[in-house]
């Protein structure tokens, strides 16, 4: 048991790193350097996979699942609402992801 709990702060540091990386990605995108923000997103995903952490819903919607493109609405992504479904399209690879506006009956 000792070896398992030797460094309990490891996952906390990883979570903080992911937060920092998404913050920096936003900053780089605001400066117009989208390539750097893509690299930040890729790094954040690598850390999450390595440390077995789930990305929170806020972070998860900020990039394309297929090509890791950081989403800036109207610049790298298109958002449309139709019949109660939000569709987010990546303008780089065309991947579409749909989110229902209403929750399912069993989740209410």
């Amino acid at each position: 048991m000792g070896s398992r709990n030797r460094r309990p702060s490891r996952k906390n540091i990883a979570r903080e790193r992911i937060d920092i990386l998404f913050y920096q990605a936003e900053r780089f995108a605001a400066e117009g350097e989208l390539n750097l923000s893509d690299l930040c997103v890729k790094r954040a995903r690598q850390i999450a996979m390595r440390e077995r952490i789930r990305l929170c819903a806020i972070h998860n919607r900020k990039f394309c699942r297929r090509c890791c493109r950081y989403f800036v609405p109207a610049k790298t992504s298109r958002i449309r609402i139709y019949r109660g479904v939000v569709t987010v399209t990546c303008l780089q690879c065309g991947y579409q992801r749909r989110y229902p506006l209403k929750k399912r009956r069993d989740q209410r």
Binding site: I13, E16, L39, R43, Q46, M49, R50
Partner: protein, 91 residues
């Protein structure tokens, strides 16, 4: 929070860095923002553009978000960035 104790395991992107000593003398006293990191290199954005600095054999001084400065050997962080959180440093 990035502190003096966990700087080696934490995120370097977004921190201000000064190169105190480097094997490549022309890279000494480079100062700027860390933009990207690979296993062996730090990409630093300076006034002249993005410069890639080797980690091994280089001494860096980082400015932490609280304003304090920490110096460390680059050889200690010459690990792929996603592995740095879980690496062990042998003394």
């Amino acid at each position: 929070m990035i502190t003096r104790q966990n700087i080696l395991f934490h995120e370097l992107i977004g921190l201000d860095v000064l190169v105190l000593h480097a094997l490549n003398r022309s890279q000494c006293s480079i100062e700027g923002l860390v933009v990207y990191e690979t296993r062996n290199m730090l990409h630093i954005r300076t006034k002249k553009g993005i410069v890639k600095v080797q980690k091994r054999g280089t001494t860096f001084a980082c400015t932490l978000p609280d304003g304090s400065r920490v110096a460390f050997f680059g050889s200690l962080i010459a690990v792929s960035p996603q592995r740095r959180t879980s690496m062990r440093i042998t003394k």
